[in-house]
């Protein structure tokens, strides 16, 4: 869980970079909500499923971008 990473402060650092990356997306006109970080351990399958479903909902709600995946 947050701050209790197997790699010590790893997930706190990841959180920092995820926040930064959301800003990068925002700069180029892509909704930052398309990226979200969840803290999960390997034994949290149900929560993982919930997270995936949540992100599917976000993607459905925002609709497709014009990006055809050849760019990045």
């Amino acid at each position: 869980m947050e701050g209790e990473c197997h790699f010590l402060e790893g997930n706190l650092r990841a959180k920092m970079w995820v926040t930064y990356t959301k800003g990068l997306l925002d700069e180029i006109g892509i909704e930052p909500e398309r990226l979200k970080m969840f803290n999960l351990s390997s034994s949290m399958a149900p929560q993982f499923k919930e997270a995936v479903e949540e992100m599917i909902e976000v993607a459905k709600k925002l609709g497709p971008t014009k990006i055809q995946n050849k760019a990045a």
Binding site: L24, I28, I30, I67, A72
Partner: protein
Amino acid sequence: MIVAERKPFEDIKAMIEDYNKILVVGCGECVSVCMAGGEKEVQILASQLRLAFEEQGKEIEVDETTLERQCDKEYLEEIKDKIDDYDAIISMACGAGVQFLAEMYNNKSVYPALNTCFIGVAEREGEWSERCRACGDCVLAETGGICPVAICAKGLLNGPCGGTNDGKCELSKEKDCAWTLIYNRLKDLDKLDNIREIFPPKKYSAQTTPGRRIHEAFKEKE
């Protein structure tokens, strides 16, 4: 190191949006260390540009490369063979690198992606602070190794102004007063006599001319 920060994305994008093929050139020295214009930042900027143009339905090709450094001709020459494939170059080096790149490839439009901020040090990961103004006339021997030119907002050589408060600068409570630091350091070193006499006016001539330095060994001898 030279510390820089990236210009706002919108500004960079506006500079190059009329071109079709762009090369983003990073620099592996200072700006790489200060996370502004190294390989990683080149990847981020190039990705952002590609995504942003694609989102707008614009066809612009953006390629990436990062040189060892941009302030040496031998490294700049590495892109000699491919430079003509591009309409414009974005340099992610400091102002010196951008200029040297533009000078070497003077038929290309070269655009800066960074604002060069200062010569400084890494306080901690992700945080840098200014230490040197490259004034050409170092006074650190007198001031206990703390530079009043770079750290005092007014560059004062004869002690603090009246705006200092609790060891901070009148500009910001975040900014240390250089002269409080200097005073305290010299007091600890028992060297306050260093700053009791009036320090002469700064020789700004050292800073402005000639802007060129030749190592003693390389000077032409008679």
